[in-house]
Symmetry: C2
Subunit: 415 residues, 2 copies
Amino acid sequence: MGDARRVISDLRELAARTSTAAGAQRVAWGPTWREARAWFRAKVGELGLDVTTDAAGNNWVTLPGASTKSVLMGSHIDCVPNGGWLDGCFGVVAGIEALRSYAGGQRPPVTLRLVDWADEEGARFGRSLFGSSAAAGTLALDDVRGLKDRSGTALVDALRENGVELEGVGRAHAELRALDGRAYLEVHIEQGPVLEAAGKSTGVVIGTFGVERHMMRFTGQAAHSGSTPIAMRRDAFLAAAETALACRAIGLRHSKPGAGVVCTVGVVNVEPKIVTAVPGVCEISLDQRALDAAVLAAMNREAREASERAARANDVTVEWQHLWRIDPRPFDPALLALCAEAVTEETGEAPHLPSGPLHDAAEMALHMPTVMMFSSSSRGLSHCKEEDTPEPHLERTIRAFLKLVDKTVAHVAAG
Amino acid sequence: MGDARRVISDLRELAARTSTAAGAQRVAWGPTWREARAWFRAKVGELGLDVTTDAAGNNWVTLPGASTKSVLMGSHIDCVPNGGWLDGCFGVVAGIEALRSYAGGQRPPVTLRLVDWADEEGARFGRSLFGSSAAAGTLALDDVRGLKDRSGTALVDALRENGVELEGVGRAHAELRALDGRAYLEVHIEQGPVLEAAGKSTGVVIGTFGVERHMMRFTGQAAHSGSTPIAMRRDAFLAAAETALACRAIGLRHSKPGAGVVCTVGVVNVEPKIVTAVPGVCEISLDQRALDAAVLAAMNREAREASERAARANDVTVEWQHLWRIDPRPFDPALLALCAEAVTEETGEAPHLPSGPLHDAAEMALHMPTVMMFSSSSRGLSHCKEEDTPEPHLERTIRAFLKLVDKTVAHVAAG
């Protein structure tokens, strides 16, 4: 059995090497990220294992077993600028500990693989899940070929600086398919408040939410705030406000215990945006998420209807612009059962929750049975230096994850 | 009786001299404004009358009567950048026509005075009603001494370029008090859609709205759009949206036929303003207007209560910041009756409406009986080159205004 304390001390060591006073700085494709990966290589080297890099820049460690059938563990060592000490690297370092628990003993019945996905965050070029989507075969080169960072550096040049040729990243998909992966496991911090609020250290993740992301543009007529009677106004903002509130009501109506959905209006722009003018234009974003594809589709349809009702009621028009969508990725029932067993053995119960944020696991779920485990997040905070999890929660989650690896190895070997 | 057609052709002449393709450019204190005032001086000179300038830069024309008791007519020849051909100068040129109708005949029973107020718009330095508030004694020098325009020119220097010493503008108040003003009349375009929508050319203005202007800042907690269940959110935008809608409902509840009120949320700012984050902060402006001071106070109190209810319901806080307020200025009952008579004689009816925008008349109402008359505005537009009024509407309004002047002269002479 591995040592949960060692995982935590390794994470503290990594944070000390790759953070400033503002937080963690392991942004993909940059020097601090390369330093973090060198540290990873050294840690793995202590186990007598090598790191190999696929065509998309993902780093793989392989512990051969009696069978080529493979159990994969993965996460990402990259982070957002001024990020936390756990997001991503928690799963990578826990994976090292799982390898360590097998590397010292007899040859495992199946092959174990640990992957550090390249650029999960997309913090620099705006494309998240870069490495895992390349491996999953879902990365469209046309969508990313022109990307530049804020300083004007092209993605293609940043990749080349790290030994990755953009035009060749598709080969990572063939490499993945050749691995004979039978299960994918990922442990991560929740990055939300649910486990903490319930007083739980560890949760079984039932899948990643599907997402519908759109902009709505309401167009009415700007008018003088003093001279235009309320009844004669075509106020674009009030139409948007009604729509935003209706979308929340739609979300609450579709939420059931254990199957919550979310929706968010995060961006709001009004024009002409002056104190003495009725807004003639209002633009809002809508981000809707649910684990059930039919529920997500219904939420989206109802939001459109609500926006059209609000537009009519305020004598304005509304246009929708599609930004992005992804299907829900429910996780594998057999692995969910193993995950629940492992969490229950360690903590006495197994709270189930969906993942609102996306993870590399969502890409792997297209190709093999997949499951995730969450550790609680203090105050639900992530993507900031305040990101934290109580150490007893981390320890219990690491122990549960190591149990899950054992159970999955046995499951794949048996089946 | 004056000639309404001549007023319109004079306005066309003034527009041709002081406009570009983008609209009228008679911004106060600038060269085009001075050109417009030179044109005004020449027009008045044709009547054998002189222009005198008071300590605040207001231009006065006096037609002495048998009594020093004076009937004042006023408006402003300045406009916003890229403004329309009627806003302000309509009343000044109509006033010239009223003087012409007396200048040619026998000495009037009371003195007639026409004033072109300096810088009604405040377009360059942000302080509207500059000249009329100086004359009314309500201009606080401490509020304007430091004002600069966008290019960095100080108000004090722009005034000096026009022969006005800021520190001396208070003398304009003593000058006004010396005039023995017994009535103030102002004709203006509505700058709103009410008369047009009712199919009326001309309206009797019952007063200028009082205004309460505030910013509200809602503070909740920014959170990830995917990982934070709806029930655990502290969404500052949704609290603001509920408040904005509640404020409209409050306005509608306080509106009565003939005594409408208005309220506007014109500025909306959310933070962090990203698609994937629940807004942690939302700031909105609220501009409330009513003619009845008690109604305005009630609207404001109810808006505060609504904001506090919405804050509690969304687990956020709200803070109010006062921006500006002004009392309602209801007009004089006797002059309202004369105005209604004049409008009825000319148009067969006398629609009454309040003025949402402020006017120089609001300052004069503090010191003498005051009334305004409105001509319709096409599509309610103003402060833009599309500002317009059908010529038949202008003609009827000019004729009604000339009748109002006659009636007021007789009224003041009689009593």
